[in-house]
Symmetry: C2
Subunit: 259 residues, 2 copies
């Protein structure tokens, strides 16, 4: 079993609200089709769909005012719109994918997943169907509601299903010694141990503005996966064939998190 | 707590695949808004969205061939498309509605709901949000997958939440002594007891072709609700203000099922 997380900044146009990058989505779906069939769970982020709405209404802060309630619902609807584009593309090219709505079955506590019934997701995989989940606005037992990031969800699914590998498809080649988008001499860290992690998190931060945190949040989330013995790979999903190779277990440029 | 089920034949154009009746949907959403806020769960049927796909792939028969798997996923996607139209309309006019995907948390056994965690739906209602569910293609513990009809789901929700009333909004005025669409002297049955039910089910059958059964299926499903002490009303959602009045508990033309 593998878990593939595709970042919102990969599949949407960051600066244009509610705009998917249809070309990249189609290519990534083709890469999944080429690797198919395999036991796989897919999770995607929100990018320019979920984040602007969630931010506008302060959903990540939890319930503070009735005014937020439409925003809670609209965040989910925005994510459904993006998810529909991805699932429809997968179905069109022949990958049997089923949309699974996190807010329909996951309730967090203090913005963290507690325990969730994984029977639907598990049965889909066994049946040869690709469950496609996403970062979502969800109910929260203490704060009313929260944002469940695609990263937290992917990590949780990888740990709970004892996945062999968790692949983060992002818009950079991995974790760098400095921000590669602004520092030319930034060097890619090919293997990052949990011990070295703390020294790097500051400099490895992604440029992306993101209500759920960028690369830093991703690595911090991934800690639990690495500790559970799951291989975690951070690769550039924007480069052709990288996701295909990663799914097939072939060597690709990127960062591997190790214990 | 009330449960409102809107029939697929009310909100879609029966003879045009994947075509919603936007005008009726908007009017019905306005009626809900006028009655809002109230503890309410909404369920809608599939009409020309879910049914043609489900029928084409024989989803209701359960898993018999790999060929059905894309159909299973496509049935759900078709329902998401219809649900999105309804939820977006509700949000637009100011009813805080959240789409809740049945296939994401319900698994049937022999096409019947066994037990389901209702925490999400319950918390949404308490939070003042309208959960909007729908008939869906779902996984099944014995047959692989099945069609969970909106009727079965609405009845189950009404019983489990101890609702005071379950309103079926259909495209006729209620249950008739004969089919009103073809027999002019057909008479509306205003009160239908469970004892009298068996004698009427044959003649009360709706004209609608429907993989989940028409009026007959509805009344048969509703039996459990009536037995649980929930008032069941079958009314014509196509007539203006009928749903509004029914939600407010005002008298409307229709059939009431009684013990």
């Amino acid at each position: 079993m593998q878990v593939l997380k595709l970042g919102g900044s990969v599949i949407t146009l960051k600066d244009e609200p509610m705009t998917a990058d249809h070309e990249i989505i189609r290519r990534l779906c083709e890469e999944i089709r080429l690797a198919w069939p395999m036991p796989l769970i897919m999770v995607h982020g929100g990018g320019s769909f979920g984040h602007p709405v969630a931010e506008k209404y302060g959903i990540a802060k939890g319930f503070t005012s009735e005014r937020q309630i439409p925003g809670f619902a609209r965040t989910h609807q925005a994510m459904v719109a993006l998810n529909t584009i991805i699932v429809d593309t997968l179905l069109e090219i022949g990958v049997p994918a089923l949309s699974v709505a996190p807010s329909s079955f996951i309730i967090t506590r203090d913005a963290r997943i507690e325990s969730v019934d994984l029977e639907v997701v598990g049965r889909l995989v066994v049946r040869g169907i690709l469950p496609v989940l996403y970062g979502d606005s969800v109910l929260d037992r203490t704060t009313g509601f929260s944002i469940l990031s695609g990263d937290q969800l992917a990590v949780w699914l990888a740990v709970e299903t004892c996945a062999s590998r968790l692949i983060f498809g992002v818009d950079v080649d991995g974790v760098y010694t400095s921000n590669p988008k602004i520092v030319p001499e930034a060097r890619l860290i090919e293997q990052l141990s949990l011990e070295k992690l703390d020294g790097y998190v500051k400099i490895g931060k992604s440029l992306t503005t993101d209500v759920t945190g960028g690369m830093l949040g991703k690595i911090d989330e991934a800690r639990a996966t690495v500790e559970a013995g799951v291989e975690v790979q951070i690769v550039n999903a924007k480069r052709p064939d990288v996701i295909l190779k990663a799914l097939r277990g072939e060597p690709v440029k990127g960062t591997i998190l190790i214990r």
